[in-house]
């Protein structure tokens, strides 16, 4: 049986402005992301990548089409309901980490749970567990400026998936990191998704997109290609080992 679907976009269209100034940011996008799946989104500037991420995360509303997150149709909910869904179901990871400087790593991670209404002690226990998942249990009491860029991004990943959150939306998470650190962050993101989450990753770096299960390419708001999930072991036998 296939894994449950966490995110669905059906015929999603997003138009900014009107008349002569009309800009079609997304033009009939269909997308399904299942639990355990990491999907990369690539495309040139202005192709609609950010809009796609915003619409998928309920931060922006499509002009037409539907967005479904863990069974809830966003357009059928009011603003309050959408905000609650966003807060409880979705985690965001940004290029610049966006940790709160005055809070420790553990406090940054436990904050979303405290906002969920979870008692502080339980939130802290969960935060510690989430930090352990990204290999940062020893850094729990450090402040963001005492952590390296890669460590800060791992804290952000822990925060994005703390508690019941299963959908992570990552916007250029490796953009501010060097090549080796970027790889380490992608390994963590991949592992967290494998452990029971779904992810949508916007990146312009193909080698980081290669950590995803598939890549969709956007051009002028349309999905021009969606590389299917491939069979492992297809290529290496001849191209690497045999050269």
């Amino acid at each position: 049986m296939s894994d449950p679907v966490l995110l669905t976009l059906e015929g999603v269209r997003r138009v900014h402005g009107s008349g002569a100034r009309e800009v079609v940011a997304l033009d009939g996008v269909d997308l399904t992301v299942r639990l355990g799946e990491l999907v990369a989104v690539m495309g040139p500037s202005g192709s609609g990548k950010s809009t796609l991420l915003n619409v998928a995360g309920g931060l922006d509303t499509p002009t037409s089409g539907t967005v479904t997150i863990a069974g809830d149709v966003l357009s059928e909910m009011d603003a309050k309901g959408r905000a609650a869904l966003r807060r409880k179901r979705i985690g965001y990871v940004f290029q610049d980490f966006n940790l709160i400087p005055a809070l420790t790593a553990a406090e940054n991670v436990s904050l979303p749970r405290e906002l969920d209404g979870v008692p502080a002690r339980k939130a802290r226990t969960e935060a510690k567990a989430a930090l352990a998942e990204v290999g940062l249990e020893k850094q729990a009491r450090r402040f963001p400026d005492e952590l390296s860029g890669g460590q800060q991004q791992r804290v952000a990943i822990a925060r994005a998936l703390v508690g019941p959150r299963r959908l992570v939306l990552a916007d250029e998470p490796t953009g501010a990191l060097d090549s080796v650190t970027g790889e380490a962050v992608m390994r963590v993101l991949r592992a967290r998704v494998d452990a029971g989450a779904a992810g949508l990753l916007v990146t312009h770096e193909p080698r980081f997109a290669a950590w995803a299960d598939r890549t969709i390419f956007l051009r002028d708001g349309k999905v021009v290609d969606s590389t299917g999930t491939d069979e492992p072991e297809t290529l290496l036998a001849d191209s690497v080992k045999g050269a």
Binding site: V180, R187, W211, A212, D225, T227, K241
Partner: protein
């Protein structure tokens, strides 16, 4: 480059027989360059003929060990110092295909770019899956694992360069304001005058 220099560089570390040489060579290049024992053996014969190796003074009981001569050591040292020349350019099928596609009638360059990009990304995911099996940066790692990891990185970076080039083609074609070339404006017969 040749297997020859790689083997010579290994012998500069300590005398070895052909079986051990082959094993070391494969392990330390991350298994990316398989060599057979006959190849190693014939390479040793050529190196011996050229005065770059000799049979080691101190022999193992049942294995013939080789060691580099003075000029063999110099050759190995020179190899480390000399940068590797870029291979022959312009013989890549993809380069030829895309160059032709730009001017071919009835061919959509963007379709070719897209199909190729998907294929190259698929290859990159294969490399990355294998990369996921070696220890992450900063974790304890053996030197053969590190070698293999770096070989995989090479394949990944090469593929990434291709994807970037494909992106660039797509953008360049989209922005190009094409004017007829001299070939197209010339009379067909004129263009085909024998040299």
């Amino acid at each position: 480059m040749s297997v020859k220099h790689g083997l010579l560089a290994l012998l500069a570390e300590e005398p070895m027989g052909v079986y051990r040489l082959r094993k070391e060579f494969e392990a330390r290049t991350g298994g990316s360059w398989p060599v057979n024992i006959g190849q190693v053996y014939s390479t040793m014969q050529r190196l011996e003929r050229d005065g770059l190796v000799v049979k080691a003074a101190q022999q193992d009981e049942d294995v013939e060990l080789y060691e580099p001569t003075e000029s063999g050591r110099a050759e190995a040292a020179a190899w480390w110092r000399t940068p590797v020349a870029r291979g022959e350019v312009g013989r890549d099928e993809l380069v030829i295909k895309l160059a032709l596609a730009v001017s071919a009638a009835g061919v959509d360059v963007c379709d070719i770019v897209q199909a190729q990009r998907s294929e190259t990304m698929r290859a990159m995911r294969d490399f990355t899956r294998l990369k996921g099996q070696v220890p992450a940066p900063g974790e304890p790692i053996t030197s053969p694992e590190l070698a293999w990891s770096l070989v995989l990185d090479h394949h990944t970076f090469t593929a990434e360069a291709e994807v970037r080039w494909l992106d660039h083609i797509e953008a360049s074609v989209a922005r190009a304001v094409l004017t007829p070339s001299r070939m197209e404006t010339m009379d067909r017969h004129e263009a085909e005058v024998p040299r």
